[in-house]
Symmetry: C2
């Protein structure tokens, strides 16, 4: 099986002298469009507006450094701007530091970016191998948000190994990444997908339809907890209650235990696309992420193995 376009480095963000085109995940599956950006500042705005996320932020941020060069912005300034666009995504910060190291050794920018991206692809591949080993014939696998490479590769490898399973995808309000990205992508790839509301996870666990819960982890903290898209905690608690194993994919433990809990704009949950869902005078809260404590986690799948 081939990695789908949504996850291919050369499709996520395309650099041409003076411009970076980022695939607009907000419009998938309805439209396949790119946002074309001409400066690091524009890339930062696009990342803040969730044009892409997760591994897409990594690829776009690294390739964004080529724009910095084109506009004669110094490395450090550009790198700080890009890594601050999505403070919870610590991987971009780390990758930009690696990039600086390689470039300062005299490696040209294009090659250095490709070296780093290739390293990530190998890590995803290893995580996919570990992940697929946990999938059993007959499994119902629940996931939240858009768990990208490691999860998708796990499913691909499990399917190639002849295992049959279904995937329950939580829609993931408010941005609906599960409904917009995960469910259509996996469905197009031929997996047996069931889209459910975020509220239905407990029900299908109780009914015995879900036997594993797997998500990405935006951060893996030294105390063993993880930070991921809001809703991960609630489903992890349900998993624990029904004795269903919960595995998170992470590239590795964060060096420090500090984290910024990004608080979104409550107004964002008051509409779905153009559709208003409540009265203007209603006050709303929108936490972007939540923290799953280690007691709720069966294992964290890293490139080095399952912790």
């Amino acid at each position: 099986m081939r990695l789908p376009d949504l996850l291919a480095d050369d499709k996520i963000a395309i650099y041409r002298k003076g411009s970076l085109s980022i695939f607009d995940r907000r419009r998938y599956p309805f439209e396949n469009e790119y946002v074309v950006l001409h400066s690091v500042g524009e890339v930062v705005s696009a990342l803040k507006c969730m044009v892409t996320q997760g591994g897409g932020v990594l690829v776009s941020g690294l390739k964004g450094m080529m724009l910095a060069r084109d506009e004669d912005l110094d490395f450090e300034t550009a790198s700080k701007m890009l890594s601050s666009a999505r403070p919870t995504n610590s991987e971009l910060k780390r990758a930009l530091e690696n990039l600086q190291r390689l470039v300062s050794k005299g490696i040209d920018l294009e090659s250095a970016v490709e070296m780093i991206l290739s390293e990530y692809r190998q890590k995803y591949e290893r995580m996919g191998t570990f992940g697929s080993s946990l999938i059993e014939d007959g499994d119902g696998i629940l996931t939240t948000c858009f768990p990208e490479h490691s999860f998708t590769i796990s499913l691909m490898k499990a399917k190639e190994g002849g295992k049959q399973f279904s995937v329950f995808v939580m829609e993931t309000r408010p941005y609906l990444q599960g409904a917009h990205l995960t469910a259509p992508m996996l469905s197009e790839m031929g997996f047996d997908v069931k889209l459910i509301t975020d509220s239905a996870q407990g029900h299908y666990m109780q009914e015995g339809k879900i036997s594993k819960y797997m998500t990405a982890a935006d951060r893996f903290l030294p105390d063993g907890s993880i930070i991921n898209k809001v809703g991960t905690l609630s489903a992890a608690i349900s998993s624990s209650y029904f004795s269903i194993p919960y595995y998170a994919f992470s590239l590795g433990i964060s060096e420090n235990s500090e984290y910024v809990m990004e608080e979104g704009n409550g107004e964002d949950i008051k509409r779905v696309g153009n559709e208003k869902i409540t009265a203007d005078h209603v006050s709303a809260l929108y936490p972007l992420f939540d923290r799953v404590t280690s007691d709720l986690i069966t294992g964290v799948i890293t490139p080095e193995g399952i912790v």
Copy 2:
């Protein structure tokens, strides 16, 4: 404080010879409109289409019997048609049986309906008194869906008693009754309301912002479990994990333990209003309700007390 229009018997459904107008809760808070119906068959269709729910079904079903009389439909046929419109709502069935008993004693239909509705109002009042006694100063109270009279009266009485608290309302996908009904109504009444996505309940419990969970119960089964809107189970599991008490309001234990788990149309979760949220080829599942087992319930608030 006065009971809001959404919960007043004389505003929920208005009977005039040959027609029954049911307040269309699907359009609130954006429009205040009634659906005008001229036969029992039309009332059944409206109830199936969720024009109203919960206590609204009870009031509309009882008043629907006046239409049956106008169109010379026999009592038993009409009563069966109405109670089968929403099989999980066992209260309507019970109320229609009571109605038949009163009418067979020679009481005229209008008076009999009013006698039954008045009995319910007294029950709600008692449940509200019990409910308010559980609310403490400083509470953050989470709720799901539209818990109607008993919950609203509990809040009203607690506020009249000088208690200060906030109410976290889960939006309740897919029909968004929390966003459409509960949050706007409580907000208009002057309560401190925070609308959240269904996925954010665990997060605000972990943060210590939620100290009670209270919902209605569509059914209270003899084994001590309750059936309610899908999502109630997941939040009850989170409550139990964080040692937060969970109370459900119920008019009483169902006589039998059988229940029909209504399975909705998966297509219903693939759009929000007119907004498509996923690709057409994606398959989706929509369970209307879930079952909360007794180990997760701190108490069920009935007109006779807290069980």
